[in-house]
Structures are given as structure tokens and as C-alpha cells.
Amino acid sequence: MTTNTGVTETEVAETRMTETLSRGRAFYHSQVFRRQMILAGLVLALFFSLCVDLALGPARYSLGEVIAALFTPDSVSQQARVIVWEIRMPVALMALVVGASLSVAGAQMQTILSNPLASPFTLGISAGASFGAALGLAFGVAIIPAAIEFVVPINAFVMAMFTAFLIHALSLRRGVTVETIILLGIAMVFIFNSLMALIQFFASQEAVSAVVFWTMGSLTKATWPKFWIALSILALSMPLLARHGWALTAMRLGDAKAESMGVNPRALRLEVLVLVSLLAAISVAFVGTIGFIGLVGPHIARILLGEDQRFFLPGSALCGALILSVGSVISKIIIPGTIVPIGIITSLVGIPFFLFLVLNHKKASW
């Protein structure tokens, strides 16, 4: 049949179809572009925060001096060069790597357990690490014989991994659901907290202070070797996680749906749990307990970028790094002359910001 304008109905239908198709695809492309821009914005913000972090301290430098020290070290004084590169750089970079590691760990724990509360903190990994560190700090116990300066981080790492593997082992039992894994994690938190209290009860006053300071989390423990180790683990994990990008995104649709798309949820859950436990354990071992990042970094990334892992994974890393870097800046300026432990700052400053984001976000973010 032909319409008054001489165009057949089939042609009209085809034109309409092409219009709707191109609209759907155009929306997808604009969404991808918007997310790429957000990621680029996060990278820029991160660089700015890093520069501010490097500029702040007992000796203050302008941003121009910091950028000069970074890109043309010969153009600044030797003192500025040493302070920026040797003293502040490992701490500032450690903030980025630990922030990214904890956030990625939290993001993937939330993904594979399909639970918004999952994080290294809520699964007991941080509590296990704290217990290991406290054993070393209070009684000088070395779980694995090591040089004295490495006893605390190694104890923390071993206990964190032990906790993670205990949870993995229990999760492999028949009938254990993701909810059970979360419950196991919370049980771990309570067990380790009780053990910590027991250690503090028997330990000397001095040791108790050391344990309390450690559990607050502090970037001042950072050194170049620790930074390189943490960076290597992060650099190793990211491509391995990215390789499972589509499968991980599918996991958020539930096991039945993921299976129908050809994903093996149990195998993927195990592999990813091992990887993210490693990320969390290394971070906590080196800088202490910083609980907030692993929970909130991913949620902010989710609000900004959605849950397509192509954007969510790098987004989580960047958000975590940015939160901890900004936290590091605030920890230096909030009380002049004192660096407040970063764990306190991230929670105190970060949580109101997080609540603001969640409560003002129009769409459901979980």
C-alpha cells in the first residue's frame, strides 16, 4: 500500500526501525563517551590531589614548585627535590596504590557476593590483619620468622590471608550461600576483635598504644620497597580482573542468570576472592586498617559509572585512590603541624560526603 506522499508502508516502517535502532545505539555511544570523560576527570583530579599532597608538610611548596620538582628536578633546590621525591613521594604514591587496592578489593567482593556491605573490613580480612599485627606489636610474636622491621606487616599479611582462605574453604562446603559467606566474615570480625581485646588486656601500656595506633591506619609507614610490592600486586591483579570483566558484570545479575550466559559462578568467585584477598591483605599489612575505602570507593564508582566492569573496575580504583589521596591532604592540614592517622580522616570526612552522594542520588545505586 502507498501513502499520499508516495512512500510505501514498508518503507515507513523501515525508516522508523532505523530511527529507533540508531537512537538506542547513539545512547549507548554517548554513555560510553560520558564514562570515558568521567574516568579522565578522575585521573586529572588524582594528579591534582597528588601534587597538593606532595606540596604539604612541615616545609610547604607551591603547586608550581612541586610540578617543577616532578618534571624538571634540576630546576628546583636540592632540599625541595629530596623532600618531594624521597620523603613525600612514597607516602603520597602509597596512598594512591592502597586506596586503589582496597577499593578494587571491595568492588569485587561486592560484585561476587552480590552484597553492598561486602568489603575487606566486613569480611574480617582487616580484623585478621590487625590481630596478626597486634601479636607482633604486643608480644613480639613472629608467625613467620622475619627481620624485626617486617614482623608486623608479615604477621598482618599472614593473618589476613588465613582469614580469607578460611572463608574460602568454608564457602566451598555444600549449601553455603553468599549470605552465609557474609555472616562468616562478620563472625570473623567479632572473633578477631575479641582476641585483640584479649591481647590489649595482657599487653603493656606502651604496646597497647602501638596496637591502637596501628589499627588507626597510617600512611607514614610507607617506604619505597613497600610501595613497589603493593603496586606490583595491584598491577598484576587489574588485568586478571579485567579479563573477567563481562563475567563479573554478569555476576551482579545473580548466579542463575550468569550461568545461563556461560559463566561458572563458583570458579569465578573463588579466583576473584583469592585475588582481592591478596590486594586487601597487602594494603592492610603495610598501612594498617583503613576500613572506609573498600566499602565506599566502589559505591561512588557505581553511582558515577554504573556496573559495567569496563568502567566500574578502573573507576573503583581511581575513586579509592582519590579518596585516600584527598584524605592524606586533609590529614596534614586539619590540625596544623600534626599528621592525623589517615584511617580516622577517611571515615570522619568521607562518610558524610558518601551519605550526601547516596541520599542525593536520584536513581537506586544498588
Binding site: Q31, K257, A364
Partner: protein, 249 residues
């Protein structure tokens, strides 16, 4: 042409037997097969067994295909918790087992799947904001976008209004006829099964009660035995069999 045959296929959860030695004739591309039976008859388990998600005795024989994953499955659980748009969630189903880079052909397949099911307008919506029926259609699109040769759908019409039920089954019928797809669909509406499907498998408590042309499988005696209803089948003015359920027994 793709074919599917089950030979003494069994499945169990722990010690509990769910499927007992299911043997079927050889179904082939172009056919639409209804999987019938009351709740807990083993329909979903049979799908999972064909897909290889469950192990067990017997053989699932798929031949006439060179595709790596010839079977796509739409489960009952339409999972809609993630922060994803409809477009992304369908693309996601397409991209499993492929690289991270999305090719123009992948987007074309997403467009096509959404268009087939008349849900292109939902593309920009978040899956969490959809109604149950819309989720079910998105779930069907996720199966369709994988370009399967065998498409299995577990109660795909359970949350749809009458118009959408007929539309979806018409699309499935067309896919079987035009693309020579073998479609297995679990249905509770036996009237739909009589109208749209070529063959049917009737299950009860994990056993295959009957298998063959749909009109031969759905008989008053079997409905009484399996569904516990008194029913009769009459031909309408167009000669098509119509199911009339009189009472639950």
C-alpha cells in the same frame, strides 16, 4: 541443521532424584517444542541438564552445529539488581566469552534482539526500574542476542500480559520457522502450547509421561493424571484444537 536428542538423561540434587531416564526423539532446527508439567516436575532441571550446568547419567546429544555455544537459556530468575541499562545488560549477554572490545556487529545484534521483542524503547532504562513483564522480555533478549541454534526458555510468559504473551510466542514461532532455530519452551498455558508448538514433552515428578506432536501429548486422560483437572479438547471453527478446562479434581 542442529539436532537435540536426550538418551536416558537423569539428574539428581544430592540423593534426591529430579529426572529419571528421559529419552526423547531427535528434535531438530525449525521445531518449537513445549516442555509441560506441573510445578516441580523437573522442567528447569531438564534445561540445566541440557545446558551442562548439572551432571548426571545419560547423554545429551547435540549435533549438526559447529558453534562453540549453540545453546542459549533464559532462566526463570530474571535477575535485575545490577546498575545497568537494558542495552548494557543485553550487550553483556552477547559479550560473554568474547574480548573486552565491543565490535559494531555486537551492537547490531543487540539492536536486532531488542527490535525482535519490540523493546527497543526500553534500551535507555535501568533494569532495576522495569516491571516483571519487561524484565522477562529483556531476559529473552539476552538469550536471543547470543545467536543460538537451540534456544531454551523457562516459563518466558509467566509475567506477561495477554498481548505480550501472544507477541513473544509469535516471535519465537517465527524464529523457529525463519532461522531454523530449535526452540524449547516451558509453558503452563497448554492452550498456548497447542497453538504455537509442534511437539511437547509432558513431565511429572521427573519422569517423561509423554512426548510427541503437541496435540497427541495433551489429552484429557493425561491432563486428569498429571494436572488433576477435568478438561476436554474441541476444535474451533478454524479447525484448531482448543483446551477447555472444566474443573480441578
Amino acid at each position: 541443521m542442529v539436532t537435540l536428542q536426550l538418551n536416558r538423561v537423569s539428574a539428581r540434587y544430592g540423593r534426591r532424584s529430579i529426572l529419571e531416564e528421559i529419552t526423547t526423539p531427535c528434535f531438530q532446527g525449525g521445531q518449537m517444542v513445549a516442555l509441560l508439567g506441573p510445578n516441580a516436575a523437573g522442567k528447569s532441571t531438564l534445561f540445566r541438564r541440557v545446558l551442562g550446568l548439572l551432571k548426571g547419567e545419560g547423554e545429551v546429544i547435540i549435533s549438526g552445529t559447529s558453534a562453540e555455544r549453540p545453546v542459549a537459556y533464559m532462566p526463570q530468575d530474571t535477575g535485575a539488581r545490577a546498575v545497568l541499562t537494558v542495552y548494557e545488560s543485553v550487550l553483556l549477554a552477547r559479550m560473554q566469552g568474547r574480548g573486552l572490545k565491543v565490535q559494531p556487529d555486537d551492537l547490531a545484534q543487540v539492536d536486532r534482539a531488542l527490535e525482535e521483542l519490540s523493546i527497543t524503547v526500553l534500551g535507555e532504562r535501568d533494569i532495576g526500574d522495569l516491571s516483571g513483564g519487561q524484565r522477562q522480555l529483556v531476559s529473552a533478549a539476552q538469550a536471543l542476542v547470543q545467536e543460538p541454534e537451540i534456544l531454551m526458555l523457562d516459563e518466558p510468559t509467566s509475567a506477561l500480559d495477554l498481548n505480550r504473551q501472544i507477541s513473544l510466542l509469535t516471535v519465537l514461532r517465527r524464529l523457529a520457522d525463519e532461522r531454523q532455530m530449535l526452540i524449547l519452551v516451558a509453558l503452563h498455558d497448554l492452550g498456548h502450547a497447542l497453538r504455537f508448538t509442534d511437539a511437547a514433552m509432558l513431565l511429572e515428578s521427573g519422569r517423561l509421561i509423554a512426548c510427541g506432536p503437541t496435540a497427541e501429548v495433551i489429552t484429557p486422560a493425561r491432563l486428569r493424571q498429571v494436572y488433576h483437572v477435568a478438561a476436554r479438547i474441541e476444535s474451533c471453527s478454524k479447525g484448531q484444537p482448543q483446551l477447555i478446562v472444566e474443573a480441578a479434581i
